[in-house]
Amino acid sequence: MIMLQYLALAAILFAIGVFGVLTRRNAVGILMSLELMFNAANINFVTFNKFIAPGGLTGQIFAAFVIVIAAAEAVVGLAIVLLLYRNWKGINVDRINIMKW
């Protein structure tokens, strides 16, 4: 079925994003993997909109909102990364453990 190939693509992209979040040491790398996962979710929204509920455009509206929230997340995340770099002279997240006890 044609819909399944889009879902499979989204699942593969999401799995790659999860792998990046789990294994990257660099905070910017983690943010980039997060963007991959957002994109996988968006592909799913648009796919379901086209194949399951083609009467309206609810899925595409949702995907647009996800894009906006992802942009806001990237802005705040990179501000935090710059702050970390200023205070610790490095942004490897395995060194930044002050919130862990």
């Binding site: 079925m1 399944l4 190939q5 889009y6 879902l7 499979a8 693509l9 699942a11 593969i12 992209l13 999401f14 799995a15 790659i16 994003g17 999860v18 792998f19 789990l22 294994t23 990257r24 040491r25 660099n26 910017v28 790398g29 943010l31 980039m32 963007e35 991959l36 994109n39 648009v46 909109n49 086209k50 194949f51 399951i52 083609p54 009467g55 309206g56 455009l57 595409q60 509206i61 995907a63 647009a64 909102f65 894009i67 906006v68 929230i69 992802a70 942009a71 806001a72 990237a74 802005v75 705040v76 990179l78 501000a79 990364v81 710059l82 702050l83 770099y85 942004i91 490897n92 395995d94």
Partner: protein, 167 residues
């Protein structure tokens, strides 16, 4: 014939997306992975076009390729030392990460195959972008306004976070 072309374009785009996404998460040089992130996002825009979401494809190119990835590259440039290649970029959890991702992938693909999808064979509304704009201004006007406040809060939050103390 026409479906064959669509299939071919789909396989090309998904090949591009998967290969460059793997590069994004595995490359040693973080700057190169940002470049491959741009390639991945372009591929996703192509998938949107295949799914008749032309407006979303344009938004994807404008916001992701134009703004977010430039922001990423900007942050990489500002945190200079990590652009060098001798720093180790992945932690000790690579094997565990591979197992978790493979498990997730198998579980989700299996559930896709076992679900009975009620596929509706109907075209999307003509004039996609027009309908999207009307929906945003009528039915979804409250989420639209809320998301604008979220963006404003993110803007102010980023400025407050990144500003020097006392400046």
């Amino acid at each position: 014939m026409q479906t064959d072309t669509v299939q071919l374009v789909f396989y090309l785009f998904s090949f591009l997306i998967i290969i460059s996404a793997i590069y994004v998460v595995t490359l040693k040089n973080i700057f190169h992975s940002a470049i491959f992130l741009v390639l991945t996002l372009f591929g996703v825009a192509g998938i949107y076009i295949l799914l008749h979401a032309e407006f979303l494809a344009a938004v994807q190119v404008l916001i992701y390729v134009g703004a977010v990835s430039v922001l990423m590259i900007f942050a990489i440039m500002l945190t200079t030392r990590l652009a060098s290649r001798e720093i180790k970029q992945s932690n000790e959890q690579v094997m565990a990460g591979i197992f978790i991702c493979a498990g997730f992938l198998l579980a989700s693909l299996g559930s896709f195959a076992n679900t009975v999808w009620r596929v509706v064979d109907k075209p999307l509304p003509e004039n996609n972008t027009l309908t999207l704009g009307q929906l945003l201004m009528n039915e979804y006007v409250l989420p639209f306004e809320v998301v604008s406040i979220v963006l404003l809060a993110a803007l102010i939050g980023a400025i407050v976070l990144a500003r020097k103390e006392g400046a």
